[in-house]
Amino acid sequence: MKKYWKSSSMLLGGVILSAGMIAGCSSDEGDGDNGNSGGEGMSGELEIQYFVGGYGDSWWNEVIADFKEEYPDLTITEHKGPNINDEMRSRWVSDNPPDVVYIDGAGSSETQMIEDGQLANLTELVEGMEVDGEPLLDNFIVDPDRHDGEIFSLPLVFDTWGTWYDKAWFEEEGFEVPTDFDSFMNSMGDIQDKEGIDPLVTSGQHPYYFLRGMLYPAFGAAGGEELLNDVITGAEGAWTSDVVLETMKKVESMQQAGYFDSGLGALNHTQSQMNFLLHQNAFVPVGFWLPNEMANDVPDGLEFGFIPSPMQDAGEPYAIVPDLRPLAIAENAENKEAAEAFVEFVFTREYAELFSEHTGAIMNVAGVDLTENENVPEYLKEANEMINDPEQVQIYQKPHPMSADLETPIGNALLSLMLGNITAEEFTEEAESAAASYRQ
């Protein structure tokens, strides 16, 4: 079933239209109150664990500094870095976790943490929480996942995968920005002929980049959320269904046309992104973090352009599958009161706007106007506008991230397909077999 996005008032783009409301919010937030009742009585230590990846840590630094100012008696200890999930693993294993955790990056799994009972039940807290004078639950762009009806994490970062291209280069050379799969194939063919390059690159060392960046939207467009749910949960027969096979045939046709970078099997994600920046390829499926992650390597004149991955049939709108990165409180948090205060503190429009300024991405809070903000990159404004136009883009929500136990073997088979070592039919059989093992 295809699901259009929430009502326009819930959308960023929807909010773009309601500047007056923003003005109101701005004046509310100007006093630094942030919807909290005050900083009195909060003391002790608050430990916060957060992954630092493509989005950097400048937003966190600012938010935590503000929180510290709000609660001066609180000692805040930050555990952060690109390998923080591995570094903190022993703390979680020994039931001595930090109080607040931002779940993102390698070595973290929200699903696993919930299954292991490591995250606190936030249902009651969230249902009673108000932010910017409105119930928090009404302020999310995408609602929190519920496990047996309970909420264990709050989606903080609204990430989405899509396909990137160099807008300036495309305009200069007259390349077509794809609008559907046929136009994608035409555009790649044109680029291949004119530039003599393999137009599409992705990371072969991490095939989930293509899985999440290209196939999820393709499955959403072809079979809606029901299919997306089935393939992610490994439902019986999902991967061998006709609709999945049709989608995989599209991938096979891309391979047979020689559109995939011939060396992609060896590339890690930064190498594939570097290839894209160097115009060795024209398209790369990555999330919103690409410009921030590669900021130091962007050649002069390159202008980031973002489209939802054009895997849908002609005449259909683009499809997008949000990828949410949540904030949670540890079940064994020693300072739950402070942890709850921090969560409440973060989910405001003020910090959502700041997030877009710092990271070039979107925080999962509705009602944020980015159109007039000069610090927000142009591609993000354009992407927002596109994402929030249901005529152009349909949004499909996945039930939860795919388990690594299923994603790993499917990623391996997918890479074989992209390298031309197996057919689409063989891929679906291998994926179905992986799903069968996963179900056991």
Partner: protein, 297 residues
């Protein structure tokens, strides 16, 4: 002064007890912990775990990828032993017997990779193999052999053989020094006697040098086998991550993937136990095969 029995035991205890304590903490404890965890279903990221008996071992026997990882491991063992030993012996003999003036310089050059971290070596060779910018493909194209260029680490057939070269490159120096030590201990009079008897240099190598440095060769082979079975996962992890499509996974990297990527820590521990058993069996077989009478002239 004659030591009393008590003094002797105190001295022995002074030497052995701290060593045994450290050995117990850093070797025996992890060893038995690994064995213990192999009987559990455990994500490795929380304190919850469930005893499941031998289920992980049953699963291992049904795992289609694991036998491939064993083959990959032994492919690396065989190619590394052959490659490193041939080159290390060649360089050791050349630097000791051929009276090269720059021998000390070459000793440093050949040993240099050994002082580099394996991680650095892996990253370095990843760049060398880079499909578009790497030295290998650029060199081939420069020599007019462009059709031989390929995405070495991204090709399911070529990725594993491509890992052999950096592994050999990184290993030669240490064993070359070990063998140089052995050759230096061979008395010159043996070579003089052999020469008087009319033996050429090739015959001197086979009849004098090789038999007399056999203990060093044996130790080198055993060391290469053990370090490959236990440590080749580092270079795999850095250069290919086990891919493409599991074509370079060795037992160690597969263990890592299961334990830390797929959150099957108990299953990863099971793989660790099997690595230990296979390593022990391999070393015992090698000890048997390489058993020779000590040569003395």
């Amino acid at each position: 002064m004659v030591q009393s029995k008590k003094q002797k035991y105190v001295f022995l205890a002074f030497c052995l007890v701290p060593t045994f304590i450290l050995f117990s903490i850093f070797t025996l404890y992890p060893l038995f912990s690994g064995l213990y965890f192999s009987f559990f279903e455990w994500s490795g990221s929380s304190s919850n775990r469930e005893f499941i008996g031998l289920s992980n071992y049953e699963r291992l026997f049904q795992d289609k990828i694991f036998p491939r990882t064993i083959l990959h491991d032994y492919f690396l063992v065989v190619t590394k032993v052959i490659g490193i030993m041939i080159l290390a012996i060649f360089f050791a003999v050349a630097l000791t017997q051929l009276k090269i003036k720059e021998a000390p310089f070459y000793r440093v050059v050949f040993f240099f990779p050994n002082i580099m971290s394996v991680v650095v070596i892996g990253i370095l060779w990843t760049f060398i193999y880079n499909p578009s910018l790497g030295l290998v493909n650029s060199g081939l194209e420069f020599m007019g052999l462009g059709e031989w260029a390929r995405p070495w680490l991204g090709d399911e057939n070529w990725a594993l053989p491509s890992l052999v070269l950096p592994s050999i490159w990184a290993g030669i120096g240490l064993f070359m020094l070990l063998l140089i030590g052995g050759i230096s201990n061979v008395s010159k009079s043996y070579y003089e006697a052999a020469e008087i008897d009319g033996a050429n240099e090739w015959q001197q190598f086979w009849k004098v040098t090789l038999p007399l440095i056999w203990p060093q060769i044996k130790i080198s082979i055993l060391y290469i086998v053990i370090t490959t079975l236990n440590g080749s996962f580092i270079i795999v992890q850095i250069m290919t991550g086990g891919g493409p499509n599991n074509s370079t996974h060795v037992m160690g990297s597969y263990l890592y993937q299961q334990a830390f990527v797929q959150y099957n820590f108990g299953y990863g521990a099971t793989i660790g136990v099997v690595i230990l058993i296979l390593s022990l069996i391999t070393v015992l077989i090698l000890q048997f095969l390489m058993k020779r009478e000590k040569v003395q002239y």
